[in-house]
Amino acid sequence: MSEQRLAELLLKEEIVEFLHHEADLLDERRFDEWLDLLEDDLEYAMPMRLNVRHDEANRETTRPGDEVCWFDEGKSTLAKRVEQIQTGQHWAEEPASRVSHLVSNVRIRSVDPDPFEPAEVEVGCRFLVYRNRVAAETDLWVGRRTDVLRATPDGWRLRRRHLLLDQNVLLAKNLTVLF
């Protein structure tokens, strides 16, 4: 096996480990530790998906930065979400929901500058987020995700997250879950 290939495999293992660690932090409600994994200039967006004609595919997804999305925000708003949950009076998450984040189909799309000394990595995956709330209330959110991770002296950090939820009408009453 070439050194290049070996470096790619090791990098992928490291990235997958990061994504799984992040999912654990969210599902174990260690939200402050999760926030620490976010870069200050994080771009976090979940656009909406429209039904459009086959030749208008460029209009199928609303544009973050310009149009209405489910989420289009940065670290400060995500920190407000965490703070809100922690007040104990955020009724939509009090009592707390049971949530599992599943991450699969992980593929490294690009590495800058190279897998030997990676500074930034773009990684694609599928997400499946399951929420069970109070008693019989259950939601399932599935879709594609593109993350940009940045190497820092403290380890990998999230620089960008773009979530493509496979729903048109949102089939949940709210989005109090962090994705």
């Binding site: 999305c69 007040t87 009076q89 955020h90 048109n168 009408v169 009453k173």
Partner: protein, 451 residues
């Protein structure tokens, strides 16, 4: 159905049946959603000829279209042959809707058909129908009446429904504020592309009631977001709106014969919030002054601000921030599809527009830090009202009972003497009851003496 025994606004008592019963729900579709004026969309969503937006009235899909002459139409999205939806796109541009089932096609091209939505193409028209099918009788079903109110499009299925201006009455000032720029210019708003749509397990009336004048729920429902503070971050950073403190003496307004309501009076507005960014703060303080000058010059009231509801199911933040509207589409007695539109002045500097869009999205909608908690309350209130025992006990609407006085500004409205009141809800259900127990608009008008 005589629903008078279910709704007793005079004593502030309303049965849970009207929030959970299948029978009441079916009657609402007939007597409320098939008869009243409903909001379909904003003209900026279909700016050019051929544009369409797939909207909804009650439980049904309705196409909002712009024909070759630029006229706006609302057409029931169901083929007249076998009922298939002729359009399953959310938006787009076309002059013909071709049914994917047997191929009947309908046109909005004035050079091909006499009226928009008329049946145009019928496969095997000559050989199969012998040319005897009268295409003029089998077009997409149009609404009976449609108006463009400063860019806001409303329609009704009922040809007997009162004219829109009569239907809205003094509530026009709230709609005018929704449709006016922050500088008060009428019709100078547009919607951001993308209508948020989501399903909740609530009765649809919980949504209307919430915005109609329920100042009572704020401190409890939204305590977490007030503790966190997501507002514009100026002088009043801690609150969710960033408003100047609203005086408690400011009354709510409601319309006993019409059912609409809002949280302020026509004569009072609390001004724009103060923003952390000095340039945005200065921008909106300037717009506020321009608004006051324009309204005074045009003789329009400066109030009619804040959360409010147009009977039956369109709620809005009239003027002020965030500028948005929400429609509660019924699905079933305990399920509702909520649609949210976000509006903005059509001439804002890019950085101001961007700032507002971010604020709107962190405030409202299913991911909004404020709105999330509303859905939790509406859903579980609905669920806990479905039980056999629960249904025996009515809801209490006695807050501010017998404390309303005639409006100082409007001849068809009343005002409450304290900012927390259920007077607006009582009047909403007066209107609800009147529609539900009448077989025709004539009967309703006879009862209320209004036309």
């Amino acid at each position: 159905m005589n629903d008078r025994h279910l709704v007793d606004p005079d004593n502030g008592v309303i049965s849970r049946e009207i929030f959970v019963s299948d029978e009441v729900f079916d009657e609402e579709l007939e007597r409320i959603f098939a008869r009243t004026w409903l909001f379909l969309g904003h003209e900026s969503q279909i700016p050019t000829t051929g544009d369409f937006f797939n909207s909804r009235m009650g439980t049904e899909s309705v196409l909002l279209t712009r024909d070759t002459d630029g006229e706006i139409h609302a057409l029931l999205n169901s083929c007249r042959h076998r009922g298939m939806k002729v359009c399953r796109y959310d938006e787009g541009n076309t002059h013909d809707f071709v049914c994917p089932y047997h191929g009947w096609s309908y046109s909005t091209d004035g050079t091909l058909v006499a009226t928009a939505g008329e049946l145009f193409g019928v496969p095997h028209y000559r050989a199969g129908y012998g040319g005897n099918l009268d295409r003029s009788q089998w077009g997409l079903v149009p609404t009976a009446q449609l108006v463009n109110h400063h860019g806001l499009i409303f329609a009704t299925w009922d040809p007997e429904a009162p004219p829109f201006d009569t239907y809205i009455g003094g509530f026009r000032h709230w709609l005018d504020n929704l449709a006016a720029s922050t500088a008060g210019e009428r019709g100078r708003v547009k919607v951001f592309r993308g209508v948020q749509k989501w399903r909740i397990r609530s009765n649809w009336k919980f949504v209307s009631e919430n915005f109609l004048g329920d100042n009572y729920h704020g401190p409890t429902s939204h305590s977490s977001v007030d503790a966190v503070g997501i507002g514009p971050g100026g002088k009043h950073a801690a609150t969710r709106h960033g408003d100047n403190k609203r005086p408690r003496s400011v009354a709510s307004t409601s319309f006993p014969d019409l059912g609409h309501g809002g949280v302020t009076t026509a004569g009072y507005a609390w001004g724009y919030p103060s923003f952390a960014e000095p340039e945005i703060d200065a921008f909106f303080q300037r717009r506020w002054r321009q608004r006051l000058e324009r309204l005074e010059a045009e003789g329009r009231p400066i109030g009619a601000f804040g959360p409010s509801t147009l009977f039956p199911s369109m709620s809005l933040h009239a003027g002020g921030f965030p500028r948005a509207l929400i429609v509660a589409h019924p699905v079933g007695p305990t399920e509702t599809e909520v649609w949210r539109w976000y509006l903005i002045d059509d001439d804002l500097p890019a950085e101001v527009e961007s700032w507002l869009r971010h604020w709107y999205l962190r405030y409202s909608g299913p991911a909004g830090l404020v709105e999330q908690d509303d859905m939790e309350n509406w859903d579980y209130a609905t669920e806990a009202s479905t039980g056999t025992i629960a249904r025996r006990y009515p809801y209490n609407y006695q807050l501010g009972l017998h404390m309303a006085t005639p409006s100082e500004d409007l001849d068809d409205a009343v005002e409450s003497s304290y900012f927390m009141t259920e007077e607006n809800a009582r009047n909403y259900y007066r209107r609800w009851s009147s529609l539900m127990s009448s077989t025709s608009w004539a009967e309703i008008e006879e009862r209320t003496g209004r036309r």
